[in-house]
Symmetry: C2
Subunit: 509 residues, 2 copies
């Protein structure tokens, strides 16, 4: 039997396993500040890779980065009514601008109370809309396309690292267009950007589609999402794109003069992806030995562990590691220079090996005296950790072959992780359930029920709320209507009316 | 007489000129949120270049990026006494976590008051120190080297864009070492990183040296800075590196077990550089036509303006611009692919030309029908804007020569900006003033007095405070003791005692 690196397995307790991966892979930790986590270097390194790859794509869409204030006056929120309703309940409020020592303890200084309290941004539509109001005068100024990398705060009562924290990091794209058509097209382009990024970079297969009315961003006309399936069968919304229509433009008076000199409201959109993606990465690619990071987003793709024993031969060993690293960084992987690291820490080889396995470095190399003598490289592939005998399995190649093949191996590893997750997603969606009883039975009677795509009549308002309530009792939520869903042909599973489309139903994070 | 692009010149009113450059170059604008600015795409593009170039250097020093909470509980600040004293007076305080509609207006919900108020980080020594306390157990764990890119808030009563805003962006390096020697060496390495970055990337000559006691970071043993001279002769502190000794380690119990299994306090350091650098860039390289961005940090190094007239020939013109852009991005400048942009906006050519001149794009190309016919490129170098006749001067080259020489031209432009500023710095420092009367006379009687390097006895405590007060009456401050200062040979200009070293005195931002 295999003795895995983690003490909790996925099948034992998925939630505890998730938390242990985060701890053992040194991705993040509790900060001591309520609801806020510390993102440790390995977690941050993954986020930096996400940032670099997303940023290139965002710029290619024509968006420029800009930076808007952290603080938003309360009055800005009052303008878009639905938006207030959706966000007002969970924001951090700054009321004072100075501390004072009172009886030996620091307290907010009563003489430094703000006339208008400031909200720590939960999202930036209001403050960016106010800038759009100033920037946009004529059709010549459109489109305006902005992106912001920032921290946002949404006060959360129950937090879970990466998935739901009071403060998180994200990018938010914001744009204004002259016409409804352009705005809708751009909303879908952003959705496609997320789909492509998730699949190609994070090796995360997703379903892109439109959210139902009850899951729309507060103030939006339509909200689209990409949804990924975790290994416990639950859904994770991994990125959203919102068509805001003229709702925010009307609230903030974002008007332009058209070619006939008439004033029209601009059409705005916004879209965001956050550090939540790292939570998804863990739950899609992790195994009972820790995380497996897809090579394209791995801070280090090859980690070299010299088997140092504090003997004089150590210097030769390190020189050989340097040579290997130099040979590797001359290679390319995914069109970029390969990223290789030498772990020189004064620790036991086994400790270092397992620390990188738990972190999920794609390839871990161990160099000992015999490798040096034979100019060989002994390595472990993170996706093929155990041999058929249940023991950690390694392979050996001469140094030139190893370096020469490294890029291709990483490619293969990336594709393997994607294929594994894709197969799981495909297998995990039931499309043959057409009555509520069978739906209930499926979710209550199956250990990993996955998702069910059902036909429905796309009800709205109170009718929809009632269905949402029914599903909630089963711990289920409506996810999205896939862009690739087959047309509806039967009856609505909830109302019995003729169905309008097919929607995904699932438990979700 | 030259008619410049700005309505205020540097010699008319330097402060108003600074503000006009920011507006006309679209670097930043007021946000409507007290003390917070919006960094617009061109300003953010420069900051992104700073980030990329600094981040590479920071990683080469062995620091990993991480992310720590925005909010810090008040109690964390109470631990390091001097640190509280230095920061407690100007912090944003979060006291509530929910809003409530009261009489139709949103207010902090009295039922959602935090038990312990949270401070929006003014800097992160306290919260990172708490993590170091957990992470550091043994000598094997040292050094720990972290960097954070983040927003920080220090409540400011009088703000000036980029130079002093309540919220600003920065990087903060934090590290812990086993010995005092290692910590001191690392503090100076960070200082050297800043010096090299400022000079090589921002073309900003600086004086690196140690700050006097009164200018130390609250809680530090020594603070070092790089100081740059603005065109009005004032000094700008453009980056600081702090040796914290064991002060923070003692307050936060950051101890490690040494090789003899005994517990010792770690030695910590911190260092930071912020968006303030952009203010420096403006005041060092700007001229009466706007900003001049050193090519190495310019978001776009070559901007191509097609002279479109809405005629069918426009398509050929754009195709030629595309060809030129493609030829340029195949070139390298400063070891990176050259950055070239085509301005396709539906505006008059002159408007577009001057917008890029005011923004300070290093090379602006204008392509008209004649250029296309002759396969020529007509361009303006931002550092040679006017010919001897006082008219905007352009040059023309065939397309291959232009593209082939572009990298070299940018190199030359970068060096030219640095040389110009270096000469100004060298010319701007007086080293021959040895009595207080002459110092006073120099600063009161000269329009651009620049800096004076004086000999002093390095007084401390109350003696130093008295001198600082004397200087303050003359609007002067002590800047730093240059690492390259000549040894002191005479008497202290303030006390008449034998001098210990030479220190820079200047007006400052």
């Amino acid at each position: 039997m295999i003795k895995h690196a983690l003490t909790v397995t996925r099948s034992d307790d998925f939630a505890a396993w998730y938390q242990q991966v985060i701890t053992e892979a040194e991705l993040a930790e509790e900060s001591g500040v309520r609801g806020c986590m510390i993102i440790r270097p390995w977690g941050m390194g993954i986020w930096e890779r996400f940032q670099r790859l997303l940023d290139d794509r965002i710029k290619a869409l024509g968006h420029d980065n800009a930076y808007f204030p952290l603080f938003i006056p309360i009055s800005y929120f009052a303008k878009e009514a639905e938006h207030v309703e959706g966000f007002a309940k969970e924001m951090a409020v700054v009321t004072h601008h100075r501390l004072k020592a009172v009886d030996g303890a620091l307290r907010p200084d009563p003489d430094a109370e703000l006339a208008e309290p400031l909200v720590v941004r939960p999202t930036s539509e209001t403050v960016i809309g106010a800038a759009f109001n100033r920037w946009i005068k004529s059709w010549r100024d459109l489109p305006v396309r902005i992106n912001q990398w920032s921290n946002v705060v949404r006060w959360e009562m129950r937090t879970r690292m990466f998935l739901r924290t009071s403060e998180f990091l994200w990018q938010e794209g914001h744009a204004a267009y002259a016409t409804a058509d352009e705005a809708r097209r751009a909303t879908l382009e952003a959705l496609e950007l997320y789909r492509e990024f998730a699949q190609q970079c994070a090796a995360m297969p997703v379903i892109a589609g439109e959210k139902p009315e009850n899951e729309r961003f507060p103030g939006a006309v339509s909200t689209f999402s990409i949804e990924a399936m975790m290994q416990d069968g639950k859904a994770l919304q991994a990125g959203t794109s919102h068509l805001l229509g003229t709702n925010f433009a009307a609230a903030q008076d974002i008007r332009y003069q058209n070619e006939d000199s008439q004033f029209e409201l601009a059409h705005t959109i916004s879209w965001g992806m956050s550090t939540r993606m790292i939570g998804g990465l863990i739950m899609i690619h992790g195994d009972d030995d820790g995380l497996r990071v897809p090579p394209r987003v791995a801070p280090w793709q090859v980690v070299i562990v010299p088997m140092l024993r504090g003997t004089p031969e150590g210097a030769d060993l390190l020189a050989y590691c340097d040579e290997l690293q130099a040979a590797l960084v001359r290679q390319t992987a995914f069109g970029e220079p390969l990223r290789a690291f030498i772990d020189r820490r004064a620790m036991k080889t086994a400790t270092k090996r397992w620390s990188w396995i738990k972190k999920g470095a794609p390839i871990v190399v161990e160099i000992g005296a015999r490798d040096l003598a034979a100019r060989k490289v002994t390595f472990i592939r993170r996706d093929r950790l155990y041999g058929e005998d249940g023991q950690p399995s390694n392979a050996s190649l001469d140094i030139d072959s190893f370096a020469g093949q490294a890029g291709m191996t990483l490619d293969e590893l990336q594709q393997g992780l994607f294929d594994e997750a894709s197969e799981r997603l495909e297998r995990g969606i039931r499309r043959d359930i057409s009555d509520l009883g069978a739906l209930k039975e499926h979710f209550e009677g199956t250990k990993h029920p996955g998702w069910v795509e059902v036909e429905w009549a796309r009800p709205t308002g109170a009718d929809l709320e009632q269905i949402v309530g029914q599903l909630k009792a089963l711990k289920l939520t409506l996810r999205n209507v896939s862009m690739n869903a087959a047309p509806a042909t039967g009856k609505c599973i909830f109302t019995g009316e003729p169905a309008a489309e097919r929607i995904l139903v699932a438990r979700a994070y």
